[in-house]
Subunit: 224 residues, 2 copies
């Protein structure tokens, strides 16, 4: 019998360019994965589709929360040394970006493409809604921008983003960024602390409490 | 002219016993306030009323998020050394607890009362929905439990919680726990990092970016 080498599962990174928290997480998730010998799988997903499915509002859809979000993201970007500047408009339609990010490219190219789109959105760039502008950005990053834009607008590429939304719901993804580590879903930039605990094998999760929580009766329901 | 002594504004702590994140924040907020010479003002508020107003779902109302919440809270409680155990039922009606927590008591008594109710909810206790059970808990904590329960059920006490809900909305409170520091709203247990930056006078907030964010046009809206 030959011994099979156990390769740890890759970390799935679910994101949408609409989210400044996803932008911050983009700047951390590679280092975390690399430190623990994990590959990364990029999972672009339409955040609006998740909100529609779960019946939830996005943080930018509640006025005082929208303001809170920028203050928090601004401070966290400063702490991480990540440049942050609001895009030209928000909310915006992220589908072109998501379709580009879903193209089948070699891993390093795909990372460079996603990085280009994130910087164009939250790093002081011109945004990612105008195909001509995005083609130029991609060309500046060494891609054939026109060809990628054309491919992104094909039915196959559009379907890929739709399929990603369905896969997200099946996995229980309710927000972005979400990192899935060994089948467990971690939501938000503040989850990296817990992700690193788990990857270090120092997980203090109370499994008995979790089982109790899962089977807890409700004694009141919110009237809606 | 006599020099007026400048007393820094107290930190407002908005909470509902329904929230395990509020329970965790309860265990941090006193030390943070004390370290920076700030008083604390306790602001019990009905979380369900905030959700109703903003049209938002609570984290426990989205099944995969409900499970995520307990995993995150369990790990954070362990990191803080705070005992955590799910209450007998959840969601439950927190109004008795909120009315008790709103009673006009001396500051130290009020802290002890709120602490008793939080421990009864998330610290392995019997929950806070049964007045007879809560009266006993309060008596064990040195209060006249029967008298406090009676006072909590008076029209004045009920109105106080209603008024608190209105005040929360005026202040822009959209979730619990919320800490208001010098007029600025900080939401969630993961905001303590930023609160401490601000209290230390080391706030990296990008005010120009914030102003830009506030005046940003939308170029797309989510269809609902």
């Amino acid at each position: 019998l030959c011994e099979a080498e156990v390769v740890p599962a890759p970390i799935e990174f679910w994101f949408d360019f609409i989210s400044p928290y996803a932008y911050l997480a983009w700047h951390r998730v590679h280092a975390v994965a690399q430190a623990h010998g994990r590959e990364l799988v990029y999972r672009p997903v339409l955040f609006a589709g998740l909100l529609n499915h779960w019946g939830q509002l996005g943080p930018a859809e509640i006025p005082p929360k929208r303001e809170f979000v920028f203050r928090q993201v601004s401070r966290r970007a400063a702490a991480l040394g990540v440049p942050l500047r609001p895009p030209p408009s928000h909310p915006f339609n992220p589908l072109l970006g998501l379709r580009l990010a879903s193209l089948e490219l070699a891993s390093e190219s795909r990372r460079r493409l996603i990085d280009t789109l994130f910087r164009a959105t939250w790093g002081g760039g011109p945004g990612i809604i105008d195909p001509a502008v995005v083609a130029t950005l991609l060309a500046d990053a060494g891609f054939d921008g026109e060809a990628l834009i054309a491919e992104a607008q094909s039915p196959t590429s559009k379907q890929r983003v739709i399929d990603s939304g369905a896969a997200a719901l099946t996995a229980g993804v309710f927000g972005v960024p979400t990192m899935i580590v060994d089948g467990e879903l971690f939501w938000g930039t503040d989850s990296f602390t817990e992700i690193e605990q788990v990857l270090r094998g120092e997980d203090p999760l109370d499994h008995e409490g979790l089982a109790r929580w899962a089977s807890l009766p409700a004694s009141a329901e919110r009237r809606r």
